[in-house]
């Protein structure tokens, strides 16, 4: 092992950890407040109900559509354009007494009688109220299971302080992304939930790389303080962090602009999540680990009888 002692602090990331910590804490609080006040704008998958996407030949006259639906007793329907002028989206709350699975067909029929032109059925979705509740339950469960499994894996591979830091970073990312959806009132459906889990996957990927480097730096440079170690590790991985984020953001932008309206929520959640995830793996994970007092001794490989086992393999 070469022993270049380099006390050069490199970029002083950790100097700003106090400020960044406060900003993050504020953002998390703001997200939680918005989540409890505005709640999430749950999509059909979670609320249950009926949704229709229909295509007209000419730009659709929304008020006439509403009128036609009102006549048939669907006055509570939410009608809006979707993607283009010709496409509209009709949403109905779950209702009592009507055979819910017939609703979509009934609405389509009434539109076809009102508008003499061809009304094309593009999509019908019906979700029973119980099914919606189950999706919420399953989603929450999935999120928790993912966090716990990742916590265990990192704790096993690294050290509990780094694991806590990594999971704190993940929680931070999830809460902020949820907060964004709550504040902007964006629809939260199953694909967004999937995106959120992908954000967890992405963010942990980033965090692991940073943690790995922190551990390595601790082992390599005995004389550095924990803060210096973190700064050095973050500087060394900064280029990689930025390059990977950039390529991910590039593909997510193509997904956002070219992927079609169905995938919009998904792309939005991931775009935001990647940005936040990049930030949190730099600041949150390492600051939390430092706050818990991670030190060189914690990260040295365990003593093994085999001679030389504690050294890096020879080149």
């Amino acid at each position: 092992m070469r022993d270049i002692i380099n006390t050069d602090e490199r970029l002083p990331f950790m100097r700003f950890r106090g400020v960044m910590g406060i900003i993050s804490a504020l953002l998390v609080v703001a997200s939680i407040v918005s989540l409890s006040v505005n709640k999430l704008n749950f999509g059909l998958d979670f609320t249950g109900g009926t949704l229709l996407e229909v295509g007209f030949e000419k730009p659709a006259d929304l008020s006439r559509v509403r009128g036609a639906l009102d006549k048939k007793g669907f006055g509570d329907a939410v009608v809006q354009n979707y993607g283009t002028q010709e496409d509209i989206l009709i949403r109905l709350e779950p209702r009592q007494g009507v055979k819910a699975e017939q609703l979509g067909t009934n609405i389509l029929e009434s539109l076809r009688t009102e508008f003499a032109q061809t009304v094309e059925m593009r999509r019908i979705e019906f979700v029973g109220p119980n099914v919606g509740d189950e999706f919420i339950e399953q989603g929450g469960l999935a999120m928790l299971t993912a966090l716990i499994c990742i916590l265990l894996y990192i704790a096993m591979r690294f050290e509990w302080r780094l694991a806590v830091g990594a999971v704190a970073a993940l929680g931070h990312d999830v809460i902020l992304t949820l907060g964004l959806f709550s504040i902007l009132g964006l629809e939260f459906d199953l694909t967004v939930l999937a995106a959120l889990l992908a954000v967890i996957g992405y963010s942990i990927n980033d965090t692991v790389v940073v943690c790995d480097r922190i551990r390595e730096t601790f082992r390599k440079f005995a004389k550095l303080t924990p803060v210096q170690t973190a700064n050095r590790a973050l500087t060394d991985t900064l280029r990689r962090t930025l390059v990977t984020s950039l390529t991910s953001i590039l593909v997510l932008l193509t997904l956002f602009f070219l992927g079609g309206p169905l995938i919009h929520g998904f792309a939005t959640a991931l775009l935001f999540g990647v940005v936040i995830g990049t930030y949190s793996s730099i600041y949150i994970a390492s600051s939390v680990a430092l706050a818990f007092g991670v030190s060189r001794e914690d990260l040295m490989p365990p003593e093994v009888e085999k001679e030389g086992a504690d050294q890096d393999p020879l080149p």
Binding site: I150, N205, R240, T244, L246
Partner: protein
């Protein structure tokens, strides 16, 4: 420091990529509009059917691309969508009701690829269009019906045994029997103990109350039975719809998923899935001659009815029993290992059966299966019209007075299986309702495919461009790996039979493209660091790969955990995302670590270098 791969490692990389490319290849050939003909139970498909199809197509002037007979099915490939519709009508017209004629999109995979088992990826409903139903069985109702039947049975049997009771009632999954006096209590306890399988007897002497509790095992069996019965029924119905590749699958303890690709008229699909089949037991009219009836002289009070696999039968009009009294029907074997169909009726059914058969021992009894088939016509209110379709499926001689348990013997193994299936289909049906529906029209499906492909293409191009600019020659190496990775994902997706590509799945591929370069970024950044630390280029390459390895593994394992959890918990489209993400992570580790190293070693390895283009 040589940086040379042994020959086998290079060959392995080439072999894996070529294999994946071979299996990915079918995806570029597209699909032919096709009509798929399969036989109903009464008909067979052979070369004569093929000739009939050929001539009927010639009559309407359609030139088929090919007509092939495979796996009991006839696949007619056509040149355009218009021809497809016309062809279906003309084939349906010439073959009649005994055949199922379905529209299909047949992969236009060349023969040589088919022969190695290469097939294009399966597309999810959000991409190819179609209907997804999630149906839920009302288990409480199903169990209540069984317990109710049990109550009737107990009443009838106690009466027969002349045991005086004051009440027999149902309490949840328990039948409670209240007795008049101690003597009756003792008799009843004696009689009911061990009398019924699947019920535990709980004695309460103080209140002279006997409770028959359904055992947990019986409850589980009942639930299982309700699901499998409904699946059987759905299969039969879906066949009526003429759908090319339907999926009918159990989900969880009480749900059934039905996926019908390509079906647009969901209203019709729903009505057909909801149609009912019933069953009747009737006596055969032996006093009159069948031939007279066949010649048009049907005697009063009797009815001529077609028989499956046999001549028409003359039946009495009186119905002994209808199918909703059947509790269970299954295939069993007697002591000589001959197949038989065991039938269990509920209490009321048992009484009726017993009353009607007691004077008819030695007489033949017929089982009639009645189905309501949807036609394409609608009445003035737009409701779909159904035609009643009745046929005799079995005639058996009554050997003795029948009760609530009896069996039909003298049938072949296949016939027994079919009969039991039909008896179940017409039996007491656990109520079912649609709890989730997702229908995607064909134009939206195509649009989803287009936008997904565009996003993948442009995302791919942008990342390729970036890598070349940033890492120069090493960027080109990473780009080779990225391309190989894309081929591997598509190849693996095409190889795994259960994997379907969905729109979120395509998003997963896009995301993988963005994230797969991460491994190479890690390696290349390491190499740059090593060069900065004044190592020789060969050493830098060696150390770069070595020290990045564990980081890459850790980072990918954690992402894989997230993908697996998504797969385990997510539903249809989300599962599609999880699959492509998981496959992408694994293949990208191979291409980014082993694949790029193979290229790097063969380009730069073993030479004396003064600097690297990185």
């Amino acid at each position: 420091m040589l940086n040379k791969y042994p020959l086998w490692k290079n060959l392995l990389v080439i072999f894996v990529v070529l294999l994946a490319a071979l299996y990915a290849l079918p995806n570029i050939y597209g699909e032919d509009p096709a009509v798929q003909v399969s036989a109903n139970r009464n008909a067979t498909i052979d070369t004569s059917t093929m000739d009939r199809v050929k001539s009927s197509l010639e009559n309407v002037g359609i030139q088929a691309k090919s007509i092939a007979l495979e796996e009991e099915q006839l696949l007619v490939r056509l040149n355009s969508d218009d021809e497809q519709l016309k062809a279906r009508e003309s084939i349906l017209g010439s073959l009649g009701d005994d055949y199922i004629v379905a529209l299909n999109l047949a992969p236009a995979t060349p023969q040589w690829l088919n022969s190695v088992g290469a097939q294009p990826m399966k597309l999810g409903l959000d991409l190819r269009g179609g209907v997804h139903f999630l149906m839920e069985i009302d288990m409480d109702e199903a169990i209540r019906k069984i317990v109710d039947g049990m109550k009737d049975t107990i009443r009838a049997e106690l009466r027969e045994e002349r045991i005086r009771y004051s009440a027999v009632r149902v309490n949840d999954t328990t039948v409670e029997v209240e007795l008049r006096n101690e003597e009756a209590y003792a008799q009843a306890a004696d009689y009911l103990d061990g009398q019924y399988q699947g019920y535990d007897l709980v004695e309460d002497e103080e209140n002279q109350l006997l409770q028959l509790q359904m055992t947990d095992q019986k409850l589980a069996e009942t639930r299982d039975y309700a699901v499998s019965q409904n699946i059987t029924i759905m299969r039969n119905r879906v066949n009526e719809l003429g759908v090319a590749e339907p999926l009918i699958q159990r989900q969880g303890s009480n749900r059934i998923v039905v996926e019908l690709p390509g079906v647009q008229d969901t209203a019709r699909a729903k009505e057909i899935l909801g149609a009912t089949a019933t069953l009747e037991f009737r006596m055969v009219d032996t006093e009159n001659d069948v031939r007279d009836a066949q010649n048009g002289r049907v005697p009063f009070g009797s009815e001529l009815m077609p028989m499956r696999d046999g001549p028409s039968q003359l039946l009495k009009e009186d119905v002994i029993l209808t199918g909703d009294h059947i509790v269970n029907a299954g295939v069993g074997y007697d002591e000589y290992n001959r197949p038989q169909v065991n039938i269990t009726l509920d209490g009321v059914g048992g009484n009726k059966m017993s009353a009607s058969t007691k004077d008819n021992v030695g007489q033949p009894m017929a089982t009639v299966f009645i189905e309501y088939k949807a036609t394409d016509e609608r009445d003035a209110e737009g409701n779909l019209q159904f035609t009643k379709n009745a046929e005799v499926i079995n005639v058996a001689t009554i050997q003795s007075r029948l009760g609530s348990n009896f069996r039909i013997t003298g049938v072949g193994a296949n016939e027994a299986q079919n009969l039991a299936l039909l008896l179940r289909a017409g039996a007491l049906i656990a109520p079912i309702q649609i709890v989730e529906e997702r229908t995607v029209g064909p134009s939206l499906g195509q649009q989803n495919i287009d936008s997904g492909t565009q996003a993948i293409f442009w995302g791919f191009v942008l990342v390729l461009a970036f890598m070349v600019v940033y890492y120069k020659k090493f960027g080109v190496v990473a780009n080779c790996a990225l391309t190989a990775n894309l081929i591997l994902i598509i190849g693996v997706m095409s190889m795994i039979p259960g994997a379907t590509l969905t729109l979120p799945g395509m998003a997963g591929i896009v995301l993988t493209v963005g994230m797969a370069v991460d491994a190479n970024v890690l390696i290349f950044e390491r190499i740059r660091e090593e060069i900065k630390a004044k190592r020789s280029p060969q050493q830098a390459i060696h150390h770069g790969y070595d020290s990045a390895l564990s980081t890459i593994a850790d980072a990918n394992v954690t992402t894989l955990i997230a993908a697996l959890i998504l797969f385990a918990i997510g539903n249809g489209p989300i599962k599609g995302f999880a699959i492509t993400l998981a496959i992408g992570i694994i293949t990208s580790m191979f291409t980014a670590i082993v694949g790029t190293r193979a290229i790097v070693n063969s380009v730069w390895g073993g030479k004396k270098l003064s600097k690297l283009s990185i």
